[in-house]
Symmetry: D3
Subunit: 307 residues, 6 copies
């Protein structure tokens, strides 16, 4: 049963994400104040017993099995927890907890390899294959999100976004023969590579220390620069151009670009990234909108129209 279907007055048992946990001091002792969630939404929950021991047991746990009574407290639905324990892998379906990848990992992997095979430049092909062959790196690429809140904030969001962007880049090149198609497609696939280390957690995402102190753009550039160093005869200028595209893909310094775009493919990558990110964010807003106008969207400083 999903959170959105909880009925006040009923007793439920469910596997839920443990998103926040806080120990609160109360008149007669302590209690745990939790935020639990699944794909359909979040719910506040309270545990009245053995709060301190449970706090220790649940620290760093992402998924819990919970039994409790759905009630209401000050106009908000609240779950009074009767039983709670860490969930075991296999007991639950992650797709219930988090917007699932549109495709299973195998298909994402196949899509990636199909794009790699379409690359005619041997150096760029080698570079992409090095990534695909690095099991640890590639499995992260196929499972991490591309954002925490605004867009592609789901399992495999990074792969979903990168592959969509690469397909878009391929289409756009058909209109502009001057664009280096292999370079643009490779840049699209790798532009957010640093995000494999920007977030921590498998279902509940938060920034890693390096994610905040170094940033995903520099982390991605660093990985790519070192991989290029392992490929014999990788043309120096080609390497600079690819790294330049990663470093400049936010378009403007004030938006986080490390350098401003200075080659055709870098300008195009920036605008296409805006399109792919914004359309995913708009889709997410559209799902929530219950009239022809959305609510006020803070990052856009505007309302959106779906009439």
């Amino acid at each position: 049963m999903m959170i959105k279907d909880f009925v006040i007055g009923e007793r439920i048992t469910a596997y839920l994400l443990l998103k926040e946990i806080e120990l609160k001091i109360w008149d007669n002792g302590t209690r745990l104040s939790l935020v639990l969630g699944d794909r359909s939404g979040n719910i506040e929950a309270v545990v009245w017993n053995e709060a301190e021991a449970l706090k220790a047991e649940l620290e760093r746990i992402e998924v819990v099995k919970v039994q409790g009574l759905v009630g209401s407290y000050r106009n908000k639905t609240q779950l009074t927890v009767e039983k709670i324990r860490p969930a075991k892998e296999g007991e639950y379906d992650p797709a219930d907890l988090k917007r699932a990848p549109l495709k299973p990992p195998d298909e994402l992997r196949a899509d990636f390899m199909a794009l790699v095979d379409s690359i005619q430049n041997p150096h760029l092909g080698s570079l992409l294959r090095l990534i695909a062959e690095d099991e640890e790196m590639f499995s992260k690429f196929l499972s991490r999100p591309a954002g925490k809140k605004f867009h592609h904030d789901f399992i495999a969001g990074l792969a979903d976004h990168s592959l969509s962007l690469a397909r878009l880049a391929d289409l756009v090149c058909r209109n502009y023969p001057d664009l280096d198609r292999d370079l643009l497609v490779t840049g699209a696939l790798l532009h957010d590579l640093g995000k494999i280390s920007e977030f921590e957690g498998h279902l509940v995402f938060d920034y890693s220390d390096a994610g905040r102190l170094i940033g995903h753009i520099t982390m991605g550039d660093h990985i790519v620069a070192n991989l290029i160093g392992r490929i014999e005869d990788f043309p120096e200028t080609l390497g600079l151009k690819l790294r330049h595209m990663i470093l400049s893909h936010h378009g403007e310094l004030a938006k986080g670009a490390v350098v401003k775009p200075k080659i055709r493919e870098a300008f195009v990558l920036n605008y296409l990234d805006e399109i792919d990110s914004k359309l995913d964010a708009i889709n997410k807003i559209a799902e929530k909108a219950d009239s022809k106008w959305s609510e006020y969207i803070k990052p856009l400083e505007d309302f959106l129209f779906f009439g």
Copy 2:
């Protein structure tokens, strides 16, 4: 003979654009100081005789037939004019004077009609056909520039840019089924329609009064709004969305957008317009660059790399 091939010391006869004309008072009377141009560049010229009479005769003339002696004055090549008169249509090939359209008007017209035929929405189709059937409007659309300096600043630049953008829009829709393809393609074709009245002149372009006081975005919206009013049963919301795309296609208020984008197609149109405009501008810069780095490009506040 093109200006770039003028050799110092030789006498030339040529049809050239008359870009600037100024009467100068000199020790012994008056002279005319001219800027003449063709596709290959500009040259300063001087007329020592009958300056005042010639000034009156050449006012508002765009193309002149000139005979003169190529010399050099303070390190710059300068033409001393011996004979000059307005050129007659048919005597010269406009394509020598101004970057020619990539395609002749008939092909541009055919490309436009092919795109119109691909539109399945009957209302949008009717709207586009109204434009194609308005001889005066459509012939301007097929011949005016889309810019004065930075991009598509040539005969038929408006049609070239609008058609390229529409083709790009069509390609991009293949990656995003949620986009309304007909709306986006129509918006691409019409987004700069107001530019048919923004500039004056046929070969030497300058802003019209309305171009500066009203602006091409409002002029284009006004035309489209009135055309929509002539189509029976044009759905009100569809009309608002199309006009909204024209009004918002500069993306941000500070960049000249009248309203900010509020629908998917408006966001995408803005980014695609950036791509098509910038790639044309970069191509123009690339032609001039004689090393792997361009000179400093003021509108971009940067150097471009062509290495």
Copy 3:
């Protein structure tokens, strides 16, 4: 009885604005959560019975007759509704519900005509008379607000603001003989004309679709451009200047101006509009301030001093 005079524990009967209505799911069924208002303020209200049927009946209703018990819920006064139904026109005085126009419609109309009669330019006079003769347009002009929140957010706020601005323009011209007084006064009267279609509702205002997608500046310019087209021999430059004033009256692109001011009257109109709008907003803030310093005013990012 006004909302500000409601006493906890008493039973009231009143005609009130229905500002928000939401159906809430509750333990034992559904209830309606309302926001009701009059000139003196807003109050939250709750209806426990027949919520769903009432929701349907009250949809799009602006004024209701309500009977209920004033109570308090979590430190806020709350009305428990016993009876509620749509109010009929004539039962209540709109001036109790919304800050009333300072003058009745007839006086506003007379003020407008007096200003029109003071215009010596025959073309501008004709234009203004066309508006006064269009019953539908003119009655909207005499009744709509000029803003939703910050200034002139009341019935006939548009006329009040436009007439005040025109009187101010007339005064200012006495200090500057170079200003075209008729043009400036006409621009003042028409600068916000598009607001007749920017908002929907008669007593409870909200943006119309066109208000957000097209914007009041473009809508106003469109009306004026079409009216000018109906006047024989309207001088082209005069028309461009008047439309330019409407399009530029926000002063800067980033503040919503479609083009920047380029003539004397456009610069002056922008600053006078700032004065008239800001003074109305400050008066509204002054009414609420209960000490010499106002609370923090977000749109001004500052506190105001009334000491």
Copy 4:
């Protein structure tokens, strides 16, 4: 004879402003390179003899008597000086050299006193009279410019601007009974008072050290604060409000305001100052414009229309 009437080949004698003076080392010794000016424009001049001695003699001299030959050097008119000496007061008419005040000092003084007499608030009246009675301060107020380049950059420009602004303020108050007319008029008269020390020179203006290091706003506030201190029982809040108006009259911190406007009169003063300054600047541009469009005006980042 004015500079604009100089004819190449003729010998002239004239009283001119000495705007710049520089000693240049040349093949065969030294020469003086000068910029001379009058109301009609500037001209470059060269002195070939006794350059070093003349340099010393002319240092800090504002007006010179010059005899020389008008020639042309690289397309620019140039004066070859034969005789040059400091001019004596009384030999020339300052009004030939610099745009004259619109009114003689006595009329400016009378206008000021008339405004003072219209002030009913006794404290503000006393303050203004203190200034009028301080001969040194008041004669500067009646003779200094209000700007170096963009507006009111002429003798008595400060008084001209301040009086015009005060008259404008008086007119505007007729439309807004909530405004404190005496406070606004006084603020208008005193808002730029610090400019009496911002510039040095009587006919050729340049910033003083204090003008750049301290700024005219702070200097004006300092004078007013000290004068207020000399008036018995000057109400504290009234003094704060008047100083606040001086300190905030640039409207925004980024435009040089020391604090943002926080009272009605401060908001209005800022916008009226914009109107009076900009209209004077536009008049100056209009005088130079020789077609319906001005040249590009850098401080406005735009062209102006005078059609």
Copy 5:
């Protein structure tokens, strides 16, 4: 007992800051809603009896003696007041109520005098001694805060910040022989002098009217300018430079600087002020942070890392 040690269910007696006081109308009459505080935090409190009389008695009182019962109301600890009266000086230790100065006034005074004695420039030395000899001014300098919220928001925060900055300035000069050490140290001591009048209150600080209408920079400059006027033969340029440093120490107009830095010492003072202010603010954030990352810090628009 400090607020952070209050235990729900216990009765306490304490001396506390009275930070806010509001009379609320309630079902059965009126109550007082208070915010009380000490160094360890704030607590909401309620008084049910004689609310109106107490309101009058406690107006403008900063410290109260309170007896009451600690309870909890909607998840927040709340004090139900049984007795409350103004505290008398001497009954309580201000250091319990507000972060205490790091050093007692005598040591601050000694530190100041030691710095004064290190100044070799006799004029700057005289100026600083004038301040130290003005009992009223100097005691304010030794006791006022330097900020209301972000940094040095405690008793003697102004002296603490100014002395720290002066010591820092002295150290920095050892690396740059071109800096005028006496000028920089004096500027550091006096840069925030106007803050002696920016805030009102001894333990509970709020902006004074002048603090908001005039601003501390202008107030400080005004004091210094008048003191300089009292010192015979104070070099004019030295005075301008010192005042310039005060007026420009915020670095940029948009950050509140009255003029931009134009001398070496003004640039350095601005950056050193940023260092000293920011490090104090960061220390305050560090005290509250309970993990390696701080919460989101609004004025910095970022998270801070203490790992």
Copy 6:
């Protein structure tokens, strides 16, 4: 003989920097147009014979031996070259050509090692020693400039700036015990390390491709990250903090920072870098200023005062 001492009419022989070289087509053939320079300034030069052959020979040459005649051409001194050839190392003293390092390489090396020895953190010490032991990297660090135009634009400017900044950092830590002195000093030494590859050339500097496409911040971070990877047990958080300081030392994204400062030492490094850079730039401006006010300084958008 230095360029500033060249006398018109004399024949000179000198070793000069070859800063620009361009082949120009002329009436009777070709000529070379050069810009030559030394520490005292630049001079334009022209070669009339064998222009094409010389162009090829001098390409990529930084220092030339020149014999020629000093003349004047249009008010500017110009050198007519009679003989020119590449200079051989050892023939000339580089210190004549370019502002010399304040200290010889050995002293810079010794200063660096002294600072390294003062570092107590063994990991940071090891890191700095790795750099000192890498002959190629370290010799670049000791000889490259830190800027192209505004500050430290001379041989060894990078070392000069980095060492000065480290000494400053050390001094500042004495005032703030909470600062990690070793971390701050190491960050100061390494913050601009990437500049060893940002510029090309030994005496005439220009940006390298990587300098523009990747940027010195990313290049420096990349070097440091890889060196850290070679040191056993380098604490992960320490490494992140040091890299974070390099990546954030420009303070704001819009000024080129890759991430915003998030630790104390990063904030301080940013402000100290501003001080050291700006003071060097001001010293350079001071050298050129010939009155108490500098000319207008474009990067500062202001005049500087040296009175």
